[in-house]
């Protein structure tokens, strides 16, 4: 007989999310070590090399932070949408759409050497991300279609659109057989702050604070929380739950679109399939690990950026870069299990028929 039941804990430690993350990360390092040992590599050597090559110098640190930018921005977008308890699985598509929209605006405008022009380009990428999530947002609020499915499906559509454009109308003849659009002018590159660190990182900091403000300190954030808690309560309070959900989705999509724009202007400098290397999916992990907290997303985003860089450099000593992805995924898994045990307890069943 099953004499034990799970019951939800009434009170949770405020730092439980942080502890869960630590536990998850330790488990992940342990699992990663085991895999390295099976391959006859010394985990301590590998990890210290990863550490050195991802944060050991200004250049490597700035590489890591550059990698963190799309993770953080897309993660923030996901967390804003989660304020109304909706899931955005479409950040990957929104990142691509942001880059496509930026390129579209770039091609159809006269290039200027000004900060305002760069600002307009990035605005276009934000709007691109919003447009990408527009159909899932509309079908959600009008017909109640599950947004997890629709946002996921838009990824494939946008990826297909990207392939179509870079093989067709946007194809750069100079790129020979490699499908890619033409490079953008150096005039619109995002300036470097220090080492290789793109000024996109500053935008990232500003948007982290913005997301924090929206979620925690604004009337809109409050209304989103109530609407997410119960649609009926929102209606009772005179809050349009559907309107909040719609706006949250457009804003969240825009954050991810901006990530695509920054990636284009600071890293790839042209539209290609390399605009995102699964950032939109890793961002889901980042957002989920932190319990959707913007400041946490910033920190974990930086860590995951460093892990990605560390993972790519250890290939030189014959270790697969997948070790970084294994650590990222296992961290999420461990953190979610830990969060579960912080939220629930196992109790002996009380007999009540």
């Amino acid at each position: 007989m099953n004499n034990y039941i799970l019951s939800k804990k009434l009170f949770r430690n405020e730092l439980s999310t942080f502890y869960s993350f630590l536990i998850g990360f330790i488990i992940a390092l342990f699992v990663g070590s085991l895999i390295l040992l099976i391959q006859d590599k010394n985990p301590i050597d590998v990890f210290s090399l990863m550490l050195k090559l991802s944060v050991g110098s200004i250049n490597s640190l700035s590489n890591s932070l550059n990698k963190a930018i799309p993770l953080i921005l897309a993660g923030l977008g996901i967390s804003i949408i989660n304020s109304v308890r909706l899931w955005n699985i479409g950040a990957e598509g929104q990142i691509f759409m942001g880059a496509l929209a930026l390129n579209f605006f770039y091609i159809n405008s006269s290039i200027q050497n000004s900060a305002l022009y760069i600002f307009l380009l990035l605005t276009a990428s934000f709007i691109g991300g919003s447009i990408c999530i527009l159909i899932p947002a509309l079908t959600k609020v009008l017909f109640g279609v599950n947004e997890i499915i629709t946002t996921l499906l838009t990824n494939y559509i946008v990826f297909g659109l990207t392939i179509y454009l870079i093989n067709g109308v946007w194809k750069d003849p100079a790129s020979l057989n490699f499908p890619a659009a033409a490079y953008v002018s150096e005039l619109v590159y995002l300036p470097i702050i220090v080492g290789k660190l793109s000024s996109g990182f500053l935008i990232c900091i500003i948007f982290t604070l913005l997301a924090f403000y929206i979620k925690d300190k604004s009337v809109f954030g409050y209304e989103m929380r109530i609407a997410g808690g119960s649609e009926l309560t929102a209606i009772y309070a005179g809050i349009s739950a559907k309107q909040k959900a719609f706006l949250a989705m457009l804003i969240g999509g825009g954050f991810a679109g901006l990530a695509g724009g920054i990636e284009l202007l600071s890293q790839t400098h042209r539209v290609s399939t390399g605009i995102s290397q699964g950032f939109g999916y890793t961002a889901i992990i980042v957002a989920a690990i932190t319990g959707m907290r913007p400041l946490g997303i910033f920190l974990v985003g930086c860590l995951f950026g460093a892990l990605t860089i560390g993972g790519s450099v250890i290939q030189t000593i014959g270790v697969s870069s997948y070790i970084a992805e294994i650590i990222q995924a296992t961290t999420l898994f461990g953190a979610l299990v830990a969060q579960f045990f912080f939220s629930y307890e196992i109790k002996k069943k009380v007999e009540n028929g």
Binding site: L10, K217, I226, S230, T233, Y236
Partner: protein, 497 residues
């Protein structure tokens, strides 16, 4: 008297501390329509769940066709011919009528389905082909299929839980004829579970009455028993402690004029409702739940914006306007559904405390957490709410404290009009007492109060006037001085002499 087809003796069942069934005796005669009458929570459904093998009673014996059954389970009950129609239908919407009817392995009309369907669809006057999908049927038609399902799986004993709750008056009288035919021609034993007095008198031959988990009357002959007697049995003694009602009444605060509302199923849920409430007055709304109370509150409070008629607060017409227009005129609404409507589950105590007036804590788009915390601390102090951690989820509060937070939030601004629906449902005695005090204080401060309740004790204690809602109409209106519990009980059951 012949041997009963089903007989239970001394059935007891407890849930935690609550005695749902207290040594209940019940017996059924073959081919007879029985009525089981009782208020909500009297134990009717628990008894039916015992008979259909879902609940295992702690004590008592069950005999079916004079054979003692040791341990009944749903499968056994079904094979012994006990079938039940629940209030929520258990039909597969995407299947045809035929598929639904023949789904059970106990199906007896496998070979001659067509003839059987012809016969019973005529008895039920169901005018649909058996290839129709169930989802394309009306609620009344679905119910017919649900009852026919019992016939097709050869249930001799048919337990029908509130079958008329979803039916129009025409469909109800049709059902009556169908059930009569079944009991006479097919010798089906039928139990009609209801709290509607009128139907039990119309449908049944013999009546059982339950109250507080006990069987208070057995096998009353329907044509010999009076309505008054049944009401007394069902409601028991009601203590009518009334508080001082000689408070000053001022000018009219809330006016409701000729409100009618038709819902999505095209049922007339509100029918030409008019009343007004003065400052310092409590108008009680009595009625069995589901007779239009929720809809009436939603119309007055601006949640339901499309309706016929007018709502005026302090002579301002707010018909067609939303919730915020009511808030501006200082109307408060304490909804029946505490957690889910009044409070948002999964959201913090602090956030929930600000739902009524959060815009007062804002500067443009900025929301001042300091102001929200101050506001909540005022609530906690003034209404003695026990909230151990205001950042924790609302469900960390007890039911009584949740209701105090909700009441406090709605009352602290000293509202002009209060709509309170079932404000004490599910609360313990001391919490009930403090909620009553809050409502009375508010009345003495000059609020106009609309109190919707199923609890007649509460209505008698607090109200200055009482109206009774039955099927969306005001069937009775009385001053508290001239009110009498029996005539109110009859009115709640749809009988107004």
């Amino acid at each position: 008297m012949t041997v009963p087809i089903l007989e239970v003796k001394g059935i007891s069942k407890t849930f935690g501390k609550v005695k749902a069934l207290d040594s209940v005796d019940f017996y059924l005669q073959k081919g007879v329509v029985h009525g089981l009458l009782g208020e909500n929570g009297a134990g009717k459904s628990s008894l039916m769940n015992v008979l259909s093998g879902i609940y295992i009673p702690e004590q008592g014996t069950i005999k079916i066709q004079n054979k003692k059954i040791d341990r009944l389970n749903p499968e056994l009950a079904s094979s012994l011919g006990i079938g039940m129609v629940h209030q929520e239908f258990r039909l597969i919407e995407n299947f045809t009528i035929k598929d639904n009817l023949t789904l059970s392995k106990a199906n007896i009309f496998l070979e001659n389905f067509k003839e059987a369907y012809l016969k019973y669809s005529e008895i039920f006057s169901l005018n649909s082909s058996y290839n129709t999908l169930v989802k394309d049927l009306s609620v009344g038609e679905k119910q017919k299929v649900e009852i026919m399902k019992l016939i097709f799986k050869n249930s001799a004993i048919m337990l029908l839980d509130e079958p008329t709750a979803v039916l129009t008056p025409q469909e109800t009288s049709q059902l009556k004829i169908s059930l009569e035919t079944l009991s006479k021609e097919d010798e089906k034993t039928i139990v009609l579970i209801t709290h509607k007095l009128k139907e039990i008198k119309d449908f049944t031959e013999t009546i059982f009455v339950m109250k507080n988990g006990k069987m208070v009357a057995e096998n009353l002959q329907t044509d010999e028993v009076s309505d008054k007697h049944l009401i007394e049995l069902m409601m028991g003694e009601i203590k009518t402690i009334s508080i001082r009602k000689d408070n000053l009444k001022g000018e009219t605060k809330l006016e409701v004029q000729n409100i009618s509302l038709i819902n999505n199923d095209e049922v007339n849920v509100l029918n030409d409702i008019s009343f007004n409430i003065k400052s310092g007055e409590i108008l009680g709304v009595a009625g069995v739940s589901g007779n239009g109370q929720v809809e009436l509150a939603n119309v007055i409070c601006g949640i339901q914006q499309e309706f016929n008629g007018k709502v005026l607060i302090n002579s301002n017409d707010v018909s067609g306007k939303g919730v915020k227009s009511r808030k501006k005129l200082n109307l408060s609404y304490i909804p029946e559904n505490r957690l889910g409507v009044g409070l948002a589950p999964g959201v913090s105590v602090l956030d929930n405390s600000a739902i009524r007036e959060y815009f007062k804590a804002s500067y443009g788009p900025h929301l001042s957490k300091g102001k929200m915390v101050n506001y909540l601390n005022d609530l906690i102090k003034q209404f003695s709410i026990k909230a151990p951690d205001v950042k924790a989820e609302i469900s960390t509060l007890s039911g009584g404290n949740m209701q105090k937070l909700l009441m406090g939030r709605e009352l602290i601004s000293n509202p002009e009009v209060i709509v309170a629906a079932q404000p004490t449902r599910g609360l313990d005695v001391s919490a009930v007492e403090s909620i009553h005090k809050l409502i009375i204080n508010q009345r003495n401060e000059g609020s106009a109060v609309l109190l919707i309740s199923e609890d007649l004790d509460e209505l008698f204690k607090l109200s200055d006037r009482i109206i009774v809602l039955y099927e969306g109409r005001i069937i009775k209106e009385v001053d508290i001085e001239s009110a009498n519990i029996e005539s109110l009980g009859l009115a709640m059951a749809g009988i107004n002499e």
